[in-house]
Symmetry: C5
């Protein structure tokens, strides 16, 4: 259920700064992809050894080094060494159950955000870490996520703004892609909710309750992954760090707006869900009421009648009514009278 | 259900600043209406091309350019170019699922607010964007909303305050009309609630529960549309922007008061609704209780009696009671005694 | 239900500052009462025309002009003109669905507060507006409320503090009377709640639920009327406006304390009410349980017995038991055994 | 229920500063006890007249004047006069339904706190007021509360810190005693809750629900009495008033810590109580379910069987089965088959 | 239930600073362990008398004095004297029901935090106090907790960072171990919750409800123990106390991040738990509905049929139908027709 709690304990008790990968293995091997570009040129390669990347650190071009798969601790450690990253930061990169956060270091910014995917109606949360320097951006992903591909395609094909601007804009573009992904996930959950609402109006069952419960859990996890991003972006905007250029700020403000919208939408979905729960309970109560009314109607009409006919089923030697010629018809008259009174009574109570 | 989540994803993955209309098509074509006035003169025209509007940008008069229908991206783009508006602002104008917000740019203020309409008991939320310059006001509507008509009529007929004051007052007057519209929508919802309360007192059914649920959803959507406007107006009042004249401030404060009142009323309606839900559940529980009491009464009285008459319906050869002369009457005595005891018992338990 | 929402829409779409009375007509005609006093002298009159009051504006004495009934817009307008009051203020005075607020103008303070009355167990909310100048106090009431009478009596009979101090003290004295009134209303609601609690312990019915619901609504409306007053008084105390004399501040702080106490009491009552709702639902559930236990007991004991006697009511030619001499007594033995086992079973389950 | 609301209205409408005792009479007569001490000497007396106390005002020793019983307004008024206390403060002392508060006056601090007692499982709230001057401390109690006795005993027997330090330390010591008392009351409520939890696990009844409701009310009242004390002590610590010596601050911080702990414990108890309510409802629902299962089992097995034997109880002339030699045994076979199928069905549904 | 409330009252009424151990006795005797180290050397001993420790106070090495078991007040007092600790601090150390807090004294920092252990599925909360001086760290534990052992092992075996840095880093390392322990406890609770969810999907019983209730309580206690630690660490980071070296700050920030994550996880678990409760109630309601449907189906079909056969079980002399040759078959036809109609009716209502 709470994957990140589970794995967290594996590390408990180790000395701080000891590098251990804490997460599920998602890739065969760790891949290092280098995308180095400026407005005119673009260079892509898959680096064999992390040390090869060191030369991109201070190159005049924008260098994006994307690490996919974190199982190979040595790669992360070597890369960290090459770019002068604090051991605690490397620990946080490998320990993929951080909450979204921003850390301001002397020569770089360290950002942790969460990527959401939907697999078989379940929300999958993965961690992406950014290390943003003046001329480079390191990104660390748990496994291959399609979310960065659109940005990469834009770098390859489009010589527009993304190729003209610096590493901070690249970081923005990736964050923007991540936040847009949130909206896609939200749309799916919103579809599920709509479907559940229809089901509820037609014929709610135990399965409906289970799906409502499942959706509640998804939204709780989603909120947990997104909520702190608000503060991260707000801190980035408020403090005007030298690594973030002025021209990038309006774009960051845009992502911030989107994030707030996402958070509000998650909250709205939760409110709607709580309304659905209420409605589900009303419906179940109403159905119970209807069932009991049917039972009561039938039982209340027929139990007394059965008693009446029971009386004349007795075998007493001396029962004068049994001898009467109209006795049988008289009993029918009584039966119809009793049933009639019952029907009138239930009509008045608006049960019929 | 969550229209704005749905459409939002259409845009996911595009480069920022790419202009795409994200919303439902509501008009045949995009209409550009120019209303240019000062205290003595008034000029109205429907502009054919957005470029024609450029000359109004720095005219001494107040120029209101109202764009109705946002499908024609070229029109918005050209108008944006003519008035020097940032691409991200244009993107927000076309992307009609923003939350209400205020952006302060160098030469203009950008405001997004939501217009509410009621169609067949459903709250329709549409976006209206304002770009307020020193001598002009651009407004962008998704489709024709009647809410601006009263202000237009006042400009046409009344040479009073609205004709004497500047574009900021016009913006105020339009916002005021929008907020007044909220109150009209709230009144309708309040009527629905009152109706539901009567229904609940008389005879609550599953349909009542469904309408309560529907109302809950309306209020959630309404709150979402209105709530951020509070902060927008507060920011406008607090920061005393040069584009807002001192004499307009008391009027803005008035709209701010109204907005707070609207928000509080939505909250009050939600509290009342939650009270109604409580009451609905009490009523359903009470009715179930009543039903079960009737069933229990009847069953508890007649089931033992049926057992008694059943005994003397047995066909044993040797059953001395059957031979007794007063046997039958004795059984009647027993029956009446048992029934009497039951009635007394239920009286004591206050069930009769 | 939400009276103030309803009436509010009557005004929607009008030009701001247009004076229209928005409320229920409560008086035959608008009455203007002037009470002019200093420590030694007291002058009371009923002014025929609002213009007559102008001379009190700058008189050295404290002048209290009380307007009762707001239907006659001309009177309010003329008075406003005579005392130099902003049109938006006059609009707020006539529009009696404001929330409590404080507006600081150049020469006067404008205060809106709510007076509560109980009529047939329903909380009636009326608006009272104060315009406090240096030497005058204008008060505007929707209709005659008894709440100001005690203060008037004190002015008439007592040459103490109220006659020595200025208009700000008079305003304080009136607010104090209003807030004291809140406590009286709260006491009544508290009585109703106590009565409901007794009813609940003895015998809760559908009517109890309806009264609980009614009380919930009263408290929601009351909170809405009182809550903003907190901020109003706090602003008055914090900003130390020149129109409020130093010597009046401790008294205002006293009203502020009372207001906080009232608000807290409303909240406490709401918490208690929510506890009562919980208790009501427990009680209803318990009673249902009890009912069902009785039914189950009776049915579970007698239905099998009826089956047994049913067997020997069958008319098969060949049923050996029927011929047995002790057959009938044997059946009785079986019946008693089954009943005994049932009773033991229910005893163990603590149902008997 | 809400004692303090009730009595509050007695005073409504009176001129501010009019001294009226608003509370329940708890003592025969008002008692004035003077305890005057320094490190070496201790002087105790019961003052006959309040004027006698005036000489203690500026004595070099610490003078503690404890007023027990507030019915005798003249005593409070005279004492107030002798020590130069503001009439509104005297009013607050007599009006024993204040919320805890701190008022800073020129020569003294005025503090209102609440003392809690348990009488027959009910929380009794009484008001204690402190007037702390440089060399004196006046305390006003509604009636004799044992809570101050331990402090008095320490003054009498112990020449330690309490005798060496000044009036502010005495005030601290008394507040500390009051807050310690809260913990004792909380312990009792915690015992009650534990007892209720056991009852709930064994056999919840309507009485359990009533005791849960009672406990809810106690905690609401307790929270109301304690919560504002937090702010009072915080203000005292933050503002570093000259009447509070530096050496007393760590002790006040200690009381502040205790108060926060008390408030948090009340909140924890409320959360636990809400958990108990949830559990109570689950238990009741489960029991209803169990009851209904028993009923359904019995009815579902025996009602069809009774129908079957009913068939062969009919008296038709021509019923071939009745003539069959093995007819009766055949019916038994059918009966056992039906019962067997039912039992299998219920086994599968896990009802047996 | 609320252990810390219970014991707290034992001390109520004592003079402040009186040293009394308030807690459960957990050890045979109080143990004093001294670990004195610098980068090259390590000295461990078990001190016989607290006075022996005084020489470590100003030694150049880092001295960690760990007190295990607080029953021997004399030891704590003597140690406090030797290191110059304020009596109120000693009182707080012995009174083990403090909430986590930070106190800044002249020469040392005083920190209280809570250690969590799981014993038989119950969360055990114990208090650990830190007194951090420039060259020493005193720790006070209620009893032996394994949580410090890993740190001790690191000091013994590893000549790394922990041996190079000062007492503040040691304090950090111990706090880090405590917070890591929280995650282990959370993992266990998360497992319990997962198990409960499975149980709920398969077959919820009263025992499930009891375990849900138990888990609720655990989380309430856990939150209470952890929540204030947030503020403690935040204060430590914000104020940059001279006793905390710059190089330790990033590590403290790391513990702070972990603490926030723990608090958020507790909150997430509580939200999930509340979702489970909702789901539990839905499930119980659904099962009741199912039960009632079975009962209603059977009763509604067979009760009328039993009535019909009852009619022809009457013994009237004159009942024409009984004489009819096809009478018996006619009754069967009626029976089948009635049953058929019922079945169709229930099919339509989707009960079959």
């Amino acid at each position: 259920m709470l994957k990140d709690v589970k794995k967290a304990t594996e590390k408990a008790g180790l000395s701080p700064g000891s590098l251990v990968f804490v997460g599920e293995r998602k890739t065969e091997r760790t891949r290092l992809r280098v995308i180095d570009y400026n407005e005119r040129e673009l260079w892509e390669e898959e680096a064999k050894r992390p040390e090869d990347c060191a030369r991109f650190k201070d190159s005049a071009t924008v260098s994006w080094i994307d690490v996919e798969g974190l199982e190979d601790i040595a790669v992360v450690e070597a890369l960290g060494g090459a770019f002068g990253i604090h051991p605690l930061v490397l620990e946080d990169i490998l320990h993929v159950h951080q909450r979204p956060k921003l850390e301001i270091h002397d020569n770089y910014l360290f950002l942790v955000i969460k990527v959401l995917e939907l697999e078989d109606h379940a929300v999958i949360v993965e961690q992406v870490s950014f290390v943003l320097g003046e001329r480079f951006l390191l990104t660390f992903q748990e496994g291959p996520t399609p979310v960065f591909d659109a940005v990469l395609a834009r770098i390859r094909t489009d010589r527009g703004r993304i190729r003209r601007m610096r590493a901070d804009y690249l970081a923005y573009a990736l964050m923007d892609a991540v936040v847009d992904r949130y909206l896609v996930v939200l749309e799916r959950l919103s579809d599920v909710m709509e479907h559940l609402e229809d089901e509820l109006l037609e014929r709610p069952t135990q399965a409906t309750a289970e799906r409502l419960h499942e959706l509640t859990k998804q939204l709780i996890f989603m909120r947990r992954a997104i909520w702190p991003l608000r503060d991260v972006l707000n801190a980035l905007l408020r403090d005007e760090h030298p690594l973030i250029e002025k021209s990038t700020l309006p774009f960051l403000r845009d992502v911030y707006d989107h994030t707030i919208r996402v958070v509000e939408t998650v909250d709205t979905l939760r409110e709607l869900l709580s309304g659905l729960f209420n409605h589900y309970h009303s419906t179940i109560s109403n159905r119970l009421n209807e069932t009991m009314k049917v039972l009561t109607l039938i039982a209340t009409i027929f139990i007394p009648l059965t008693f009446i006919v029971g009386i004349y089923g007795m075998n007493f030697k001396h029962m004068p009514e049994l001898e009467w010629h109209w006795g049988y018809y008289g009993v029918w008259a009584v039966i119809l009278a009793v049933a009639g009174v019952m029907v009138v009574y239930f009509r008045r109570r608006q049960w019929l």
